[in-house]
């Protein structure tokens, strides 16, 4: 089957999709967007969290056919999404037209060695920067899903309490950090976001 949907502000189409393919598989293996991670493919770890029409979902549990005509934001589009939070809100598409990765660009994506750069390239959303600054990234496999979930929390609740943060992120497993630095990161992003307003 063919599936048409918007990913990170760009219209995309995927051909020859099997009935059973998940949104996660289509993003990772067909669109060349491997940022959403595959840790359990069972809805238990949250590594694959994306926003579907603004709502955080485990993309491993969403059948590709279900996203026909809908709007998906992945970690790859998070910075743009955060930058355009007001004009490109859930389902709205990217007003500036500058968001997202084209399918061709995405297909060019290849496994490549890491060069160890600190990378000031591109702008990061506040939550992305906070994860780096707070030391909330170790292996980083849980990070994309946590970022999408945490960004959505901060969109809803600009000043979350620790209990709010814990509740919002309870569907995302992290095996490396012990979560303390993840809490720090969300608090930091909330403070910075508050200062920026």
């Amino acid at each position: 089957m063919r599936v048409n949907f918007t990913v990170n502000g760009r219209k995309q189409e995927a051909d020859d999709v099997w009935e059973g393919e998940s949104l996660l598989y289509v993003l990772r293996e067909r669109m060349g967007l491997p940022g959403s991670k595959n840790a359990c493919e069972q809805g238990e770890c949250g590594s694959c969290t994306v926003r579907l029409d603004g709502v955080p979902v485990c993309s491993c549990l969403v059948a590709a056919g279900q996203v026909e005509g809908r709007e998906v934001v992945t970690v790859e589009g998070l910075a743009d999404y955060a930058a355009h939070r007001t004009d490109a809100h859930p389902g709205g598409g990217c007003a500036s037209g500058a968001c997202g990765t084209s399918i061709d660009a995405a297909k060019q994506w290849q496994a490549r060695p890491q060069d160890g750069r600190t990378g000031e390239a591109g702008t990061l959303s506040p939550i992305q920067q906070a994860f780096i600054d707070a030391g909330a990234v170790q292996c980083g496999f849980c990070t994309p899903g946590l970022l999408v979930a945490a960004d959505e929390l901060l969109e809803r609740n600009a000043e979350p309490s620790d209990a709010d943060i814990r509740e919002a992120l309870s569907g995302n497993l992290c095996r490396c950090t012990g979560y303390e630095k993840i809490l720090d990161a969300v608090r930091l992003a909330a403070v910075r976001q508050g200062e920026a307003v």
Partner: protein, 796 residues
């Protein structure tokens, strides 16, 4: 100049160059990881690639009568279906013993062992094809515990052992046995006023790293293979892979792909050989990604253990003696069981002074899932038991459990039961003092939020099981000792290639090692070390591959010590060469070139008096300095097989925990409120990562205390819970605040004084939580994990 660089740690240039050691610099891979661009092993992609899939045994112990692959092979989109008959060369591999079949032949020895392989153009096709392979098994009797393994007529898990331990073990189903006898425990027991005995059970824990076993094997034109995988030790993999592919090592080129956590679970081979065999056979790139179910079968776990302990003490609180027997179940294949046995026995006394001991540790072969390396490596199980014993002894004597431990705490100079003298700081009593002195978290925090109880802060949380009635608090303490680095005479070394040159008008250092960055932050500190030693700001970390010498394993808390040491060592030689160039060019202009101690700082050559002589750019111009050196820690020796004596370990690490828990005694639910840790890290090269490692290790210990266990059905030896639905891991709701207090007491033998960090916090976290639950409930609780039925008396 390969060799050992030792001496008093000196931080000559520390702080002089921005981003050097001691600073909380940020991860160089952080941006890639938060944007989704970092290429993990499961993200590999190649044009025209196939997907590999293994078929795994559905029974634990059986003869393979027949395998029929015809139906699978006939499917559209299937390119290859392989069994052991199709393997190109060696059929077995293994880190310490080559006893693990690439694909089972003759018989299967555990549930989930790979038997056949498929390559297809879509992962679902590969799965369906694998399901069409027909295997006929004739089941065999099961070996599942010590009794069934060591019965005189027991069936042998491995019929023809020829490993180096085969000759001295009491039974062929015992992988290794290590006794330690020192003093006279029986005689010392007569001096004891109290004696306590205990029997403890430690469950099978899974590393449960999030990034699944995965990678891409690409056949090369020269008949070799390029392999991109997530592993803990490229060169150890290479040694095992090449013979199985029938290729010389130089034709197997390995590159580290992004690693999503490891914790010991990637020390052994997983999909490396399977994907390579498929790629060679089909002559196409093959990607293989284990799903979570398969991942539970695809790596070794933490050894479950039975521990039998006896301690005695005098009225004034001095421990007289200790006797113990530790039985570790290694499962169907040896993996690193022999080394785990060595660790469990040599660290079985804990961080205490006990002169009279009688110790025995054994590791079994069985038909349970294979067990091997996991964070804490044999020391974890022992710590769980000896810390429970310490509390029992203290209670028996009417003493405070912390004071009792402090009274018996080892210190620098203590002789270990192996006869080894501890020759660097061992601040055991101080670590306990620090966690004890910390202010307690407020009582009944669930009320602090307001009038209404905030159920989120209560045991059971949002399940709304209680509003505080029936909830009691408990506090528990534990402390542990872990060896750092590879022990027992292993030739443990690491290699670093350092290059220094001017790029775009700036002096740049490149660090090339084969170190596995598994999340621990090695890449961050490697750059810090190069900055400190070479006085440059720009450091590039070259991707890890087999084009440089071995870095050894990212395990045993050894990488900062070992590869960090190799980088330091190589940088020192680079520095000398740079200064030589400088002397040649500028020596005649300033006497300091000949007679002052010169340093590289902030991109300049400076005298120890702070005078700037010139810049690195001027010294180097278009010259390139490159050095590749190995580095070794001081040698260790094997433990005597009868007495257990020997200087077996390089370094020890210490951590202490205080756990505060709240228990709903009616429902048997536990909420860990706080888990404070104090640890000696020798030198915090990167304080931010130090704290992160301690918190992560602490959380894995918490997991084992209250939820984590691979459940193996004792009747069938089948794994009952191979999924994240059924194997429970701590979430952010289960994990309390983890305040960390670290000491920096330098080890005079280690580079910069560092002490391995990652493992020690995993040890004491579990017994501290158990002690707190015992304190809250008054129950004995001798098993991990503590389940609700243990607290309510409704289950075993």
């Amino acid at each position: 100049m390969a060799g050992t660089t030792t001496g008093i740690p000196r931080n000559v240039t520390q702080g002089a160059t921005k981003g050097g050691i001691g600073e909380s610099t940020l991860r160089p891979d952080g941006t890639l990881k938060v944007t989704g661009e970092f290429a993990y092993s499961s993200d590999m992609w190649h044009e025209d690639m196939l997907w590999g899939q293994a078929l795994r045994s559905t029974v634990a112990h059986a003869e393979i009568v027949s395998i029929d692959t015809s139906e699978a092979l006939a499917m559209d989109g299937v390119y290859a279906v392989l069994t052991h008959e199709d393997l190109p060369a060696a059929k077995n591999y293994g880190m310490e013993f080559q006893d693990t079949p690439v694909l089972a032949y003759g018989k299967v020895r555990h549930h989930g062992e790979p038997v056949a392989l498929v390559a297809a153009d879509h992962p679902e096709t590969a799965r369906r094809a694998a399901a069409k392979i027909k295997i006929e098994y004739r089941e065999l009797p099961l070996i599942t515990d010590e009794a069934s393994a060591t019965a005189p007529d027991a069936i042998l898990v491995h019929e023809n052992r020829n490993d180096h331990h085969a000759g001295h073990v009491p039974h062929p189903n015992i992988v290794h046995r290590q006794p330690i006898i020192r003093g006279n425990a029986a005689e010392a027991a007569r001096r004891a006023d109290v004696i306590v005995k205990g029997e403890y059970t430690f469950g099978m824990q899974d590393q449960a790293f999030l990034g699944p076993e995965s990678g891409l094997a690409v056949p090369a034109e020269d008949g070799g293979i390029d392999l991109y995988v997530a592993t803990q030790w490229l060169h150890s993999d290479l040694k095992q892979i090449a013979p199985c592919l029938g290729l010389p090592e130089e034709k197997v080129r390995m590159t580290m792909a992004g690693v999503g956590g490891a914790f010991g679970g990637r020390e052994d081979i997983s999909m490396q050989i399977l994907a390579s065999v498929l790629a060679l056979r089909t002559n196409k790139p093959v990607k293989m990604v284990y799903n979570r179910y398969e991942s539970f079968f695809g790596h070794v776990h933490r050894h479950p253990a039975k521990l039998y302990y006896e301690h005695g003490a005098t009225k004034d609180g001095k421990i007289t003696h200790m006797k113990c027997k530790i039985v570790l179940d290694g499962g169907a294949y040896a993996s690193s069981t022999a080394s785990v046995v060595g660790n469990a026995s040599s660290l079985s006394v804990g961080p205490y002074v006990i002169n009279d001991v009688d110790i025995e540790a054994i590791g079994l072969y069985s038909n349970n899932p294979p067990c091997g390396a996991m964070r804490g490596f044999g020391a974890v199980q022992a710590c769980f038991a000896y810390e429970a014993q310490m509390d029992k002894l203290a209670a028996e004597l009417g003493m405070d459990p912390v004071e009792f431990r402090q009274l018996n705490a080892m210190e620098q100079g203590t002789i270990m039961p192996t006869g080894q003298r501890v020759d660097s700081p061992a601040p055991v009593a101080e670590l306990l003092r620090r966690v004890k002195a910390r202010p307690m978290p407020p009582e009944q925090q669930w009320l602090a939020a307001g009038e209404q109880a905030d159920v989120r802060a209560l045991p059971g949380g949002l399940s709304n099981t209680t509003h505080g009635e029936g909830v009691v608090r408990g506090v528990g303490y534990a402390v542990g000792i872990k060896n750092v680095g590879f022990s027992e005479g292993f030739d443990d070394y690491s290699t670093a290639r350092i290059r220094m040159e001017v790029i775009n008008g700036e002096a740049v250092a490149t660090v090339h090692t084969a170190m596995a960055e598994v999340g621990q932050g090695g890449v961050t500190i490697h750059a810090q070390i190069a900055r400190t030693e070479l006085g440059v700001t720009q450091v590039t970390i070259h991707p890890a591959n087999t084009q440089v010498g071995s870095a050894g394993s990212t395990s045993a808390g050894r990488q900062t010590y070992m590869t960090g040491g190799a980088i330091k060592n190589s940088c020192e030689i680079v520095r000398e060469k740079v200064l030589e160039i400088g002397r040649r060019k500028f020596g005649s202009y300033h006497p300091a070139w000949a007679n002052a101690e010169l340093l590289l700082e902030g991109g300049k050559v400076v005298t120890d008096g702070g005078e700037v002589l010139t810049t690195l750019v001027e010294v180097l111009e278009d010259e390139v300095v490159e050095v590749e050196e190995e580095w070794r820690h001081r040698p260790t020796e094997a433990f005597d097989l009868v007495t257990g004596q020997g200087n077996g370990h390089v370094q020890y690490a210490f951590a202490a925990h205080r756990a505060v828990v709240e228990v709903d005694t009616e429902l048997g639910l536990v909420k860990v409120v706080e888990l404070a840790c104090a640890q000696d890290v020798g030198k915090a090269v990167n304080p931010l990562s130090v704290v992160g490692q301690i918190q992560g290790g602490t959380t894995q210990g918490l997991g084992v205390a209250v939820m984590e266990e691979i459940i193996v059905d004792p009747k069938t030896a089948k794994v009952r819970n191979p999924s994240f639905t059924d194997y429970l891991l701590p979430t952010i709701l289960d994990t309390p605040t983890i305040p960390v207090d670290y000491l920096e007491l330098a080890d005079p033998n280690a580079p910069y004084g560092v002490r391995g960090i990652g493992e020690a916090p995993t040890l004491s976290s579990t017994p501290a939580v158990l002690a707190a639950i015992r304190n809250a409930t008054g129950l004995e609780l001798t098993k991990t994990p503590v389940r609700p039925e243990h607290l309510t008396g409704t289950g075993a």
